[in-house]
Symmetry: D2
């Protein structure tokens, strides 16, 4: 019998989650093509297929959120924002959206930063005395989700708004020590994203951090994951401008063309944009976008990444990149890019792919960071390269090796 | 003692040749950085170095051309066209340019098409009764170049203006048959670029075709090359817009994003632009630029490539690409690129790289098409992939294997 | 009592006509803002209002077409082509669309060129022995429309696909002579657009040519219009790239910056695009777009306009313009534009504006070309300037003068 | 005899001043075209000519600066920064540059902000106990310049780096009161740019403020100018991105298209860029660029202007503008612009034009703000419109009226 799998989304009422919910409903009914799904693509698809991956029609959605807006409302917003979802989607899948809605539980907003706290609605929050109490509550929700829905397996994906940076120098390297801080709200250096990570790992559920927030990206939490034999991956889904950077920068390296400066200006208008308008939150995001070039080029050109919230654009991320480079005899040349992408439509299929792939990793006995998933992230944990082409090959090679192990 | 190598350029008075000449002079004097030279870059450089490649200071330039404009004049033009060469270059290297000038011989313009014939100057042409006579004259020039300059080895690179297409169906597959047509001007299906290829191969000199013209890209000439144990490579240097296509298209494939249409509009104003303004000549070029996507994507989106001559741009190739693609749930998105590159500054170092690499292939006993050089060309002969990242790895692997053989 | 006015569209089943029909229905119900309507804007609106213009809710639609696709079908296509109409429009206004549909009569396709003839459907064409017979049939349709709907006035707007160019040198300058050719199919130099113009003028109805086809743009037809005291205007609605040119070029003139070249590359995928893919038809359009710069600049820079049909873009006209100019001390600089506009949404309100304004002209006793409407057209008949700012002032001044006359 | 006129530049060692110096020298020798000079253009040229304007060959340069870098050095920098000046210029006009250099006097840096103070070199500053003492010193320099060079007239143009904003609410409205604050360094609300303005006006010399700093833009200083019958004009030369805005925005207004958002992202790398990298200084500039749209559109769309210093670009200001607007039936559309302009080559001829035009105003007996010069500035004092087309007409009308008065 096909195992029943759960997909638990933190940020379950946001744009990506709504797109996941609508897309999944459409896939179940055969009403959507598999465009955008890496695990259904020509390269990876056949290899994944042989490993008996999560089937879309046996996937059950649930999640946490700090807001109460119904999923159907989020879907309608996407429909009306320049067609980020096909028109009529919210109506067509109203039942599925309502069903998923009923499985959304109040979230946690521990030290999440001013912009997130402003968005938090009364009654949508677990009140918890300490980080440990919050973790236990999250874990209880996850386990209830599994039990109530007779799920064989659950994958947790963090999609919450970007938190302010954490001073990673302050984090203890060992789980034993980090764990001790959890009983003391004032002394605990973590933010909500990491509490979710700990809860998932303690529940034995693989954890994916699709955002620039810290999540599981610290040595102590990785130690916990390895101890519990749980897989985790992240950090910050690579969907648009940064994806382009990691595709194009290798060309400059191969051709020995010197990048003098690389400027990226991003504008968009969804809720993420609102949160990122707060400088505390923006710092985390800009850092994640800005660090990819030096490892590829072998030197650090002047770079500048800006992100601004322009309400009229809704979910449409528009990015302008200006690359100033030098060729033979020092001649300066220019490459400009304009990317007009729909953020949730780019991210949602990758969330489904990541659920499938980390589930495969977990089932094949891996533990800790799943390094071959690096190409999905702007700031991949434990990555050996930032070059997207090389990352794509590593992913294919890894899935092929799982096939080998399976045969 | 360092062997003396000759680099024979067909189209020796054009912009690329002038940039090669100035660049080589500057490299010899340590006045230019190695930016733009793939064989001096961080990836390939160390591997190439161990194989004792052509040294820039022992490289002697010569060539054929159908015009009489001195090289120094071409260099001055590049200087004054928006800085395609650093200012003062023509003056600084006047002696080297004059010396190279003296080694340029009258070219051949057999069936080269109306636009090239218009450019041909009286007295700059070998008059030859038959293609065979033309080949013999070219070969005599090549051998005199080697003898006069005490050269141990010579590489021939074809940089002539783009010829009209050849009906390849009309070409005999065997050298024995193609060779027979050479004594009959009316019956010979070849154009000048192929006569140069045959002459070089018969002289035992490796041949590189950096243009979209046919050159050595037919079965019969490849058979000749393998018989004579001579290396050849080509077709059409990949320097700008097409390079970008082969870098970006793999991203769409990896992410399973469906490219609906890809439009490329190219404008530039050098002599190449003038020749391509003639529809007969343009057909060859557009075909070469337009064929790269389907092998990468696995399907054929609507594509359109236009090339127009805009005089004010001089050597600055400006390309606008518009990619219309579809993501999850069919959402249409757009990527636009503007490339402002200096054609000769992009091409010249690749000519030097190709001379080095085909010379290495020849010295290591290879014969026929040198497939690992595919990444240098828009329409690579015998290529297994159009993906630039994959091509770059094949190149590195091949040079590494030469190292292995050498050790 | 408010006079009832008819708006007769030639090309009544196309994208612009469908947008006019939906927009008008929405305006009548107060469901649409007046955005895009010049006669409702802050500058012209108050002046027009005082002249008692055509009221949207008393405007009756009818027209000719050579196709049978229902208007509702055209509206659905626009809805689904990236939102060229708000979703749900076709359904919401199904009754109004069906009603307008019933008033569409078979069109005329006299010497309309191969691409238009390929589109013409059986049964959708008036069979007529001579141009004169066709004119009489058109006129009968126009008069029946007025009578059947108790219309006080009718305006005819030509929106048909672009015809091949007419050799204007061959056109007699006097109506007396041109009129004589109408009884001889072989000897008549005109195409369908001009037959519609003549029919409208003979029926005493103002005629607007929103396309690059000849229409009423010849001396003899203008003579007819003046004789019959009928207003006409045209040629080729200025909605996107050319509008930008006539807005930006004056800046270069004012600042004494020298435009060296101006390249415009247009891609789009609606039926217009299909017709323009035929070189015979494209010539007419390119000429219209390409002639605006010299009168503004006072000299003729190198220009290039290309138009290509890219199906995936549907009604979305995307234009890339590259302007290469020179400043003080000859320094070359660049301005690039990318325009992503929805053709029918840009054109439809102008059709409504032109109906209003030419109706005002007619009612105020003008006859012949209405010159102050020049700013609406790429190739305005009898225009004193191509500068859009100057044209806008002339329009305001003219409407103000009508106010003066009215008071 | 031709009157001898002096042009005194504050910021006399910067990029604009160096371009003015080289350009003037080239104009005197007939070695430069008049491209970029508005007063030599087809529209204004003939009208200005009849008024006997300043002749380039009788114009003497001088100025203040807070740095010691020779003008020739600044010119060489421009030459080598991607050709902001033609190559060889610094060498060709070495004598003229040296001569102008000798007439540059130490400047004043009163409350000029941290970034400017960091640039100030020892010995290049007038030490003054109070603002009044500084003004007197400046005036003494101006009068010595006139006397030493037998000048009939002098125009002062302020080109200094952008100062932090002044709290204009704190400024007294009457000169009598503002004047009193000058003897008290702590109590004086002004910054250096305004001290220069006062000095020029007190010396009876017309003053132009080409920067976003306050300069003469306050009621009290304007009162002084009117009292002394001196002309002044400004604020912030309109050379690139903002020029485009005031050219394009009127189109959206005329066509009743609703601008939802307008984003402008500017990158460049000259000294101005460095100063603007300091947030205190940047605030002044962004405000000036950001205020032009509402008066033209009649409402305030969301706008965002960013300016970043990218060293590799040197004097090449690259601006990307993204305009998101709505048409009929609410359909959203997009216009993007990329401007690649050379700042000093755009500004320098306008400085010469402004000297000519304000000199004409002064000679024709005007006093106070010269309003018809509004089109030259981003934040014009006393302007009736921000629409560049309308401003250009006002300028032509004004010069024509001076002709009328003259005849």
């Amino acid at each position: 019998m096909t195992p029943r799998t759960g997909l638990w989304l933190v940020g379950a009422r946001g744009g990506i989650a709504a797109t996941v919910a609508v897309g999944l409903a459409a896939l179940k009914q055969g009403a959507a093509a598999t465009t955008g799904l890496v695990t259904e693509g020509p390269r990876l698809g056949p290899l994944v297929e042989r490993l008996d991956p999560i089937r879309w029609d046996s996937l059950v959605l649930g999640g946490h959120d700090i807001r109460s807006t119904p999923l159907a409302e989020a879907a309608r917003l996407l429909e009306n924002q320049n067609g980020a979802l096909p028109h009529g989607s919210a109506a067509a899948y109203a039942d599925e959206l309502a069903e998923a809605d009923r499985r959304i539980r109040p979230g946690v907003a521990f030290r999440s930063g001013p912009a997130i706290e402003r968005l938090t609605e009364a009654g949508c929050l677990h009140e918890a005395a300490t980080p440990r109490a919050a973790i236990d509550q999250i874990r209880a929700d996850l386990e209830a989700f599994a039990a109530d829905n007779s799920l064989d397996r659950v994958v947790v994906v963090f999609l919450g708004s970007t938190e302010p940076p954490v001073d990673t120098a302050s984090l203890p390297a060992r789980w034993e020590e980090l764990g001790k801080t959890l009983s003391d709200s004032a002394g605990c250096p973590l933010r909500a994203s990491s509490l979710y990570a700990i809860a998932a790992i303690e529940a034995g559920m693989p954890f994916v951090n699709f955002t620039p927030s810290l999540g599981s990206d610290c040595e102590a939490i990785d130690e916990l994951a390895r101890q519990r034999a749980v897989c985790h991956a992240g950090r910050d889904g690579k969907t648009g401008e940064t994806l382009l950077k990691t595709v194009l920068a290798p060309m400059f390296a191969e051709r020995n063309l010197e990048v003098m400066s690389w400027v990226g200006h991003n504008i968009f208008g969804n809720r993420d944009g609102e949160v990122l308008d707060d400088p505390e939150h923006k710092a985390t995001k800009v850092h994640s976008k800005d660090a990819v070039l030096p490892p590829i080029l072998g030197y650090a050109p002047q770079t500048l990444v800006s992100i601004e919230s322009i309400r009229s654009l809704g979910d449409w991320k528009t990015a302008w990149d200006h690359v100033h480079f030098r060729g033979f005899m020092g001649v300066p040349m220019t490459l400009q890019l304009t990317w007009q992408g729909c953020d949730s439509a780019l991210a949602a299929p990758l969330v489904l792919d990541l659920a499938r792939l980390i589930d495969l990793a977990q089932r094949h006995g891996e533990a800790g960071v799943v390094r071959p998933l690096a190409g999905f992230f702007k700031s991949p944990m434990g990555a050996s390269t930032s070059d997207f082409g090389a990352q794509s090959r590593e992913l294919v090679d890894w899935v092929a090796s799982l096939n080998g192990a399976a045969s």
